[in-house]
Amino acid sequence: MRPRPFFLWFFLPSLAAAVLLVAALGEIAQYAFRVFTPGSLEVGGFTLDNFARLARPIYLSVLGDTLLISLATSLFTLLLSYPVAYAMVRAKSDFLRSLIMLLAVTPLFTGEIVRTYAWILVLGSNGFVNTVLKSAGLIGAPLGLLYTRFGVIVALVQFSMPVMIIILATALAHVDRNCERAAANLGAGPAQVFRHVTLPLTLPGVVSGTVVIFAWTMSAFSTPQLIGGGKVLMISNLVYLQGLSSFNFPFAAVLSLLALAVAMGSLGSMHPFVSRLELKAAIN
């Protein structure tokens, strides 16, 4: 093969970005092993104490909560996203397909603060849900939706749906319609076609979507922070408390590494189910 010109032009910028990111992650790894000096940003010598601290029940319960919320969120997201993705890919009219896509995908781009704030307005004790229910005479006192795990999950599911829908729609768009027609031709009813053909063919999308949302939710910050209001704690909130309130950089670093490990681990666990290529397509 002829040597390609301009290699460095294309290579060096990418290399610079990669070096920066690796350096930033390296900093975290480095801080994780340093001694915390209360009241000072300077860190001392090397230690493993920060990791030992993770074993305390309070931190373990936060970790448990985080996993639980992430799991619930990814499952509910899957359940609600599949029909929408299906409708978006299969709707007969062009207009309908575009409309569904616009409605389903736009929330992804308004940013987490706007979306979280919107849910405060919806879930608050004087919020949309309570006001509507009250004026309909269905409830007397407002329901406590804010500051609960339920509220956090309701908001997280809505945030996660656009990404899940994109992943599922991609999988659905790649299903050869003739496979479904063949099944129907062989006598399968619509439900059977879905169960035996469509669903299995989109299974890689389902698995990767669920795992991606799980990992995503693991790192959600503003939702538990604002809708949880301190009553629902996830790892992200702990990192913030430790890092930017107590300035305990070393322990915040340990928690960050933990979150990173869980996120990577969950995506790594996908390998048996989904080939590398599909994984890449899914997360990109």
């Binding site: 390609r4 010109p5 294309f10 910028p13 990418s14 290399l15 610079a16 970005a17 920066l20 990111l21 690796v22 930033a24 992650l25 975290i28 609600l80 029909p83 929408v84 890919v89 575009s98 896509m101 616009l102 409605l103 389903a104 995908v105 736009t106 929330p107 781009f109 308004t110 940013g111 987490e112 603060i113 706007v114 979306r115 704030y117 849910w119 307005l121 919806v122 004087n126 919020g127 949309f128 006001t131 004026s135 729609a169 991609t170 768009a173 790192s219 910050f221 503003s222 992200s236 990192v239 913030y240 890092g243 930017l244 670093a253 960050s256 979150a259 996120a263 990577m264 995506l267 997360i283």
Partner: protein
């Protein structure tokens, strides 16, 4: 006859469910829009009147003004740098074989997996140790790294869809490698690059978690200023800004859908 009835029933059940789910997805945005034009400080449904007072307050609040300008500066630099680096990277991955390519790909795609607070915290520590503090440079670098995978992905898809015969044809007609790049490859990648740049700009403009770590009062972006405000006040000023952002992004999506095809940018379509 009953089969037809069952089919109709199933279809209406399905579409009913889809409609309900879409309502769930969009209701927060509608509530924000409604609240933003309500005259009262408390939330009420239906609103008792119509007023722009929260918009006025939002526009006159100095923190928001600064944060807005900061956000524009950061977004402008970050998305443009991201476009340059991401396009170069996509071309690199598509066209060159070299040692360490897989590693480079893995590192530059990793911000999709790494929690934003981890990335933000890492850049906070890096900035501090380099003596850059929470300056624009650190904020922009963070945003570039976070948006890079999206840009390189869209440009990469465009590159894959580029017919290699076109570049060969240009070469055959006497165009040097540089001329081919300038006159054929780049012009044909333009839709993909515009899409990638748009994606990067929106993501940078609305990025919050990592920005919370790497910005200081002086460099804070709009989402960070909004977060700070929400924690201190309960009035609907934020609703006004949120409404503007919702309208802005919706308009942008409509435009992107018309001009570039949302399905293409999001790489949903089969080719």
């Amino acid at each position: 006859m009953s089969a037809r009835l069952a089919r109709g029933l199933r279809a209406s059940l399905f579409w009913g469910a889809v409609a309900l789910i879409l309502v769930y997805m969009t209701i927060p945005a509608f509530v924000v829009l409604m609240t933003s034009v309500s005259p009262s400080e408390l939330l009420e449904f239906p609103p008792s009147g119509f007023s722009f007072r929260w918009y006025e307050r939002a526009f006159s609040y100095p923190d928001f003004q600064n944060a807005f300008v900061n956000g524009l500066i950061v977004t402008a630099f970050a998305s443009s740098l991201s476009l340059l680096i991401g396009s170069a990277f996509a071309y690199l991955v598509d066209r060159y074989v070299f040692a360490g390519r897989a590693a480079l790909e893995a590192v530059l795609a990793s911000p999709l997996i790494i929690p934003h607070f981890t990335t933000g915290f890492g850049f906070l520590l890096l900035g501090a140790d380099l003596g850059l503090g929470q300056s624009y440079a650190v904020v922009i670098a963070t945003h570039v790294v976070l948006t890079l995978p999206f840009v390189s992905r869209t440009v990469y898809v465009s590159l894959r869809n580029l017919d290699p015969a076109l570049e060969r044809a240009a070469t055959n007609l006497g165009a040097s490698p540089f001329e081919v790049l300038k006159r054929v490859t780049l012009p044909l990648l333009r839709p993909g690059m515009v899409g990638g740049w748009l994606l990067a700009a929106i993501l940078s403009l609305t990025e919050f978690t990592a920005s919370l770590y790497v910005t200081a009062q002086r460099t804070q972006t709009l989402p960070v200023a909004m977060y700070t405000y929400v924690r201190e006040y309960t009035d609907p000023t934020i609703a006004a800004i949120s409404a503007l952002l919702i309208i802005f992004t919706t308009a942008l999506m409509l435009l992107a859908n018309r001009c570039l095809g949302l399905r293409r940018i999001l790489a949903i379509d089969v080719h």
